[in-house]
Amino acid sequence: MRSKFWPATAAHAVLIAYAVVALFPVFLIILNSFKDRLTIFSAPFALPWADTFTLDGYETLVSGSHFEWYFLNSLFVTASSLLLILVVSSMAAFALSEYKFRLNLLTSLYLSIGIMVPIRLGTVGILRLMVNLHLVNTLWALILIYTAQGIPLAVFVLTTFMRQLPADLKDAARIDGASEYRIYLLILPLVRPAIGSVLAISMLPIWNDLWFPLILAPGEATKTLILGAQTFLGEFANDYNAVLAALTLAILPPVFLYVIFSRQLIRGITAGAVK
């Protein structure tokens, strides 16, 4: 026992130290967003008490900006993109895992280019395309781009998973006269864990993106939460209450999603990286 005690203690010490480093900045922001301006500066590490508690920052936020719109925009863009990614990628993955046809390998390779090549590098072309389609400053521009961006990894993860499904079930359904479309619908529930992983790994890059909202949809009506926060933080840079409140509100949604989806997220990150 003695020989195991010190290494374990040292390991805990390192991990606790890192946990502090990881969480401290986040706590500091949330904590101070509820304090009055004087206390933010005079006692930044103190907890907010009855006499220092204030929601001033949040009030500035509500009156000075349209965070509720931004939030709904982000929600709509993220949810629609995820739905599209799941539908089209699971269909493609089904075809690639189920049928032998001449272009199978080539199609897989073609789709996997996007795993490594960042879609951002095509931004000049994307902007031109969106201008021609009259989609600039619409949420659809974002949804289509995020769907295209999410397809490669989603197809890869889902294909890998679908290949492992036993053939018996599908063969039995075929003997019963089920169409190929019906078989696809039949196996969808069987790949639920993989769908969870795809959802979890695709969600955060879409929710957190700044690049495409900035370029394709910077208008007031189509701002996402992250772009809205970025603009607001720039405008109110010296109003610490408002900045801290905005940061707190922007931190909460991903943390909330993370708490719900952390298992799928971890599985997804590792599943996407096995090969």
């Binding site: 290494p7 374990a8 805990h12 991990l15 890192y18 480093v21 990881a22 969480l23 900045p25 986040v26 500091l28 922001i29 933010i40 500066f41 930044p44 599209l84 539908v87 089209v88 269909m91 493609a92 089904f94 690639l96 046809f101 199609t107 073609y110 789709l111 280019i113 996007g114 090549v117 879609i119 590098l121 931004t123 000049v124 072309g125 902007l127 395309l129 769907t147 295209a148 397809i151 929710w207 957190n208 700044l210 690049w211 900035l214 370029i215 992250i226 926060a229 970025q230 933080l233 900045v243 940061l247 931190i251 991903p254 943390v255 999603l257 993370y258 952390s262 971890i266 990150i269 990286a273």
Partner: protein, 306 residues
């Protein structure tokens, strides 16, 4: 009813939507952008094919080459800092978590938290913490008796801004190598380590002689993911320092340079042709990194295994 060799319509139906969306909104714009990089504005107002002239201009004409080489150099430093700070710490955390330490799930969840936050948020959080005006960094450096360092404008000084931004990015992204290393370490069968332990090997020795060689594929994967991520980075610098990547372009990397070039900023007009050219160079850099990984690293590892 099905005839032999009949056209497999259902395959087209299944593949169609994904291939169409992916082609229209990812592959086509990429190709369009590469094509634009071989063109430039004609004096008549339209566009004219100029071959690789834009690239030559980017590399050698002072107006373009000075900011380009500056951004490329900064980007390399940005990448090196990630490789020597982020990935070793990620490995250390993963090795500790893989040792079945009590509470490892909680530690893992906490260490991954910064990774889920938006880069914009991370940028502002650290900007506030490092701001001499607030005094947080003053107090933190004070703990180790160096409170004078807390007064230093880490982000506002040319010589320190890039390193500071890199470390902010490291803080955020450490969760990714940690998770990937952890997944690889957990897959190693226990018997291997048990056998070595019976032979009296220390934990240190077991790690470097048995576990580390077995996770070499993951080391390569993390290196290439870091490479691609870093040479495509933009958000953190933009959120913290703005499109001008100040002070005096000291934190300018390829992503911010690309943005200013094609989108325009202040007095510089938007230039889609030169913007595409910058993107073309970034694409080549990223492809070279990926190819080195696929053919240099993975191939070699496979040869060792056989």
């Amino acid at each position: 009813m099905k005839k032999r060799g009949s056209f497999p319509v259902h395959i087209l139906v299944f593949l169609g939507p994904a291939v169409l969306i992916y082609t229209a909104f990812m592959i086509y714009p990429l190709c369009d952008s590469l094509w634009l990089s071989l063109n430039n504005k004609a004096s008549s107002g339209g566009q004219i094919f100029v071959g690789i002239q834009n690239y030559l201009m980017l590399f050698s004409q002072d107006r373009w080459s000075a900011p380009f080489w500056n951004a490329l150099r900064n980007n390399l430093i940005f990448f090196v800092i990630h490789m020597v700070v982020q990935n070793p710490i990620g490995l250390l955390l993963a090795a500790l978590l893989a040792s079945r330490i009590r509470g490892s799930a909680i530690y893992r969840t906490i260490a991954f938290t910064p990774t889920i936050l938006s880069v914009v948020i991370v940028g502002f959080v650290w900007k506030l913490i490092l701001a001499p005006a607030w005094g947080i960094s003053h107090a933190l450096f004070g703990i180790v008796g160096l409170s004078a360092l807390g007064e230093y404008p880490w982000l506002g000084t040319e010589s320190t801004t890039l390193v500071t931004l890199s470390l902010m990015s490291v803080w955020q992204n450490i969760g990714i190598p940690m998770m990937l290393f952890l997944a690889a370490l957990i897959r190693i069968p226990d018997e291997l380590m048990e056998a070595a332990k019976v032979d009296g090997a220390s934990g240190w020795k077991i790690f470097w002689r048995i576990q580390f060689p077995l996770i070499l594929p993951t080391v390569g994967l993390i290196a290439v993911l870091t490479f691609v991520g870093n040479f495509n980075a933009f958000d953190l610098i933009y959120a913290t320092q703005g499109a001008l990547a100040g002070p005096n372009f000291a934190s300018d990397i390829l992503g911010t340079f690309f943005f200013r070039t094609f989108f325009g900023y202040q007095l510089q007009p938007a230039d889609p042709f030169m913007g595409s050219t910058v993107a073309g160079v970034m694409l080549v850099i990223i492809l070279v990194g990926v190819l080195i990984y696929l053919f240099g690293w993975q191939r070699r590892l496979q040869q060792i295994q056989f």
